[in-house]
């Protein structure tokens, strides 16, 4: 009995990080109507970022998180100007293909350089033991950091001027422009932010699990599932959706081989897309 409960709690911890990743995806979607298909590759980038920063600099893994965040942001802004900028306002097909093509390039380069070797970042953190079950320190830390980052994001979006600008552009781009908001800069900022979140979540995942260049695909699928659970464009929903997915994984993994996880997630994904197009956790009601 406790085994299942422990698995569920662990799932919730890990799931919160999925939620963080999905927040990046849903932010970009909500602000500029672009589905960022480089999301998975950026998660992997964050993983590698953490790996190299902590092994090269010998720094404690968690100290590498801020640089990954900043670097992710920079990369995101660059990506925006290269591939996304010209796609704004064009049919969604085009922006999908643009980000998709960049993703292919990144995965191709990644596998060329690193092959399919497994990487691991050893992080030792004392866990919490309760009723004979130990909750891994890294999982707890990841959840705590996720909460902190999500909280910071909330404050940024709702209490600062740039954040309000982003929300204005998300709400109505033309109106925002007429009000003097520099929409292009705001869009690139928002995109950078979304990528930064993806990278940071990748870094956090790297503290918990080993990874390869191709790990991104599985986490991207998880991000999509979470995003539709939470409602596209809804960061709070994404966080809750992540926790829900983590919960689901926690309930399922004790009973099923790991290779089935992708199948189950995909089925959930399709079901939610069809049955709940607005998301399960959609806190904003739209007509």
């Amino acid at each position: 009995m406790f085994g299942i409960l422990a698995s569920i709690i662990d799932g919730v911890l890990v799931g919160s990080v999925y939620g963080l990743a999905a927040m990046g995806l849903t932010l970009i979607w909500g602000v500029m109507d672009v589905i960022n298909l480089t999301h998975g590759a950026m998660i992997v980038a964050g993983m590698f970022g953490l790996f190299y920063l902590s092994t090269l600099l010998g720094a404690p893994a968690y100290a590498a998180i801020p640089p990954v965040l900043v670097a992710g942001f920079a990369v995101g802004v660059g990506l925006y100007w290269i591939a996304v900028h010209r796609m704004i306002g064009r049919p969604p097909l085009m922006s999908l293909l643009a980000t998709f093509s960049v993703n292919m390039v990144l995965i191709g380069l990644g596998t060329t350089v690193w092959g399919t070797v497994l990487f691991n970042v050893p992080v030792s953190l004392p866990g919490i033991t309760w009723h004979g079950y130990t909750f891994t320190g890294t999982h707890i830390m990841a959840a705590v950091l996720t909460a902190a980052i999500a909280g910071a994001l909330y404050l940024f979006l709702y209490r600062t001027r740039p954040g309000k600008a982003i929300r204005a552009v998300a709400s109505n781009r033309e109106a925002a422009e007429l009000n003097g908001i520099p929409t292009r800069q705001v869009l690139s900022f928002a995109f950078g932010l979304g990528i930064a979140l993806a990278c940071v979540s990748g870094a956090l995942i790297a503290t918990m699990f080993p990874f390869t260049v191709l790990s991104g695909t599985a986490y991207q699928l998880k991000s999509f599932v979470v995003t539709v659970l939470g409602g596209l464009g809804n960061p709070a929903g994404a966080l809750f959706g992540g926790v829900a997915l983590g919960l689901l994984e926690g309930m399922v993994t004790p009973f099923m081989p790991v290779s089935w996880t992708s199948v189950i997630e995909f089925v959930v994904f399709v079901i939610v897309l069809i049955a709940f197009p607005g998301g399960l956790f959609n806190f904003t009601r739209r007509p």
């Binding site: 643009a98 998709f100 995965i107 191709g108 991207q220 992708s262 994904f269």
Partner: protein, 325 residues
């Protein structure tokens, strides 16, 4: 679609000529090398032409298009291997089964609009692959090996390879004809309305849900048959080859490269790309680099030449629109 009218169009004869060329050229001097090259090119053309129905006509990107190819392959190899079915029956059944499954799946998934649908198809490939990996009747992650006995009814391996080749060329010709026929039909008109502006199409009375599901199903049939033939020929199928993400991507690239929405475009794009890839692969050993090149090509097309080669040709020589549709 009016057959008499179609016979008067240059594009129809172009399709016929290309198909005949593919069929006859390797026969000169029993050129097995050329045959193998053209077989692969035909596969690319089949995948591109059928994918174009979704991307170019209806405006819906099907990222998981390779699923049809892989499932068709698995069904055929399994029917031949475990149940002793003859090739043509197995291949056709695989085609029908896969397109029927696509119809059911499509009816559900195509009530979603553009981007949501694309998301769903991204997961399809991974989901189906993960399922097959765990599915022991189909060999799980090891796959299925076809015994050489399977080639006996076709007159032995050497003869069988020729028969399979001609069948594949026939599928290629059918793909092009299907693409053309749909484009000039009322169904095609409705699809293109959907691709232009789905809301406007709905208000104009186009039965969008049914049309989308139908075209999704139609775009599954011939790739499934092609997959059936291809993997029967390879005598071996396993999940990584059957649901190859790279090939899926390349199908999309070739449609965009050639010119989505045209009949000739995707075929041309597929052919050129496959030849390019063939020359590159002799000097590269990493398939991962293939992905980089495909990705860069796609990005350049999307950014600077969204109409692809045909788009450029039509703009430069407007009269070509009548001949190369």
């Amino acid at each position: 679609m009016n057959v008499a009218a179609m016979l008067r169009r240059p594009t129809f004869w172009l399709i016929l000529a290309a198909t005949l060329a593919f069929a006859l050229l390797p026969l000169r001097g029993d050129n097995v090398g050329l045959r193998e090259d053209l077989l692969l090119a035909a596969v690319y053309v089949i995948l591109a032409s059928n994918l174009n129905l979704m991307i170019g006509y209806a405006g819906y990107v099907n990222f998981g298009n390779i699923v049809f190819f892989g499932l068709g392959g698995y069904l055929c190899v399994w029917l031949v291997n475990s149940h002793g079915w003859p090739l043509v029956a197995a291949a056709l059944s695989a085609g029908v089964a896969v397109s029927f499954a696509a119809l059911l799946f499509g009816l559900g998934i195509l009530r979603l609009r553009g981007a949501y649908f694309a998301l769903a198809t991204i997961g399809v490939n991974e989901g189906v692959k993960a399922f097959v990996v765990n599915f022991s009747p189909w060999g799980g992650s090891t796959g299925i090996y076809l015994s050489i006995e399977a080639y006996k009814p076709l007159g032995g391996p050497a003869k069988a390879l020729w028969t399979i080749y001609f069948l594949m060329i026939a599928v290629m010709g059918l793909s092009l004809l299907l693409s053309y026929g749909i484009k000039r039909s009322k169904f095609g008109l409705g699809l293109r309305a959907i691709g232009q502006n789905e809301n406007a199409a709905i208000v104009l009375g186009v039965p969008t849900r049914h049309y989308k599901a139908l075209v999704y199903s139609a775009s599954a049939f011939l790739p499934a048959v092609a997959g059936a033939l291809f993997f029967f020929k390879s005598a071996f199928i396993q999940p990584d080859d059957a649901f190859d993400l790279v090939l899926s991507t390349e199908a999309i690239v070739t449609v965009m490269l050639g010119g989505q929405g045209t009949v000739v475009g995707p075929a041309l794009g597929a052919f050129l790309y496959e030849e390019l890839r063939g020359t590159l692969l002799t000097s590269q050993t990493f398939s991962s680099f293939q992905l980089v090149i495909a990705g860069v090509l796609l990005l350049l097309i999307v950014l600077f030449l969204p109409g692809g080669l045909m788009g450029w040709i039509h703009r430069r020589w407007p009269r070509s629109k009548q001949v190369l549709e």
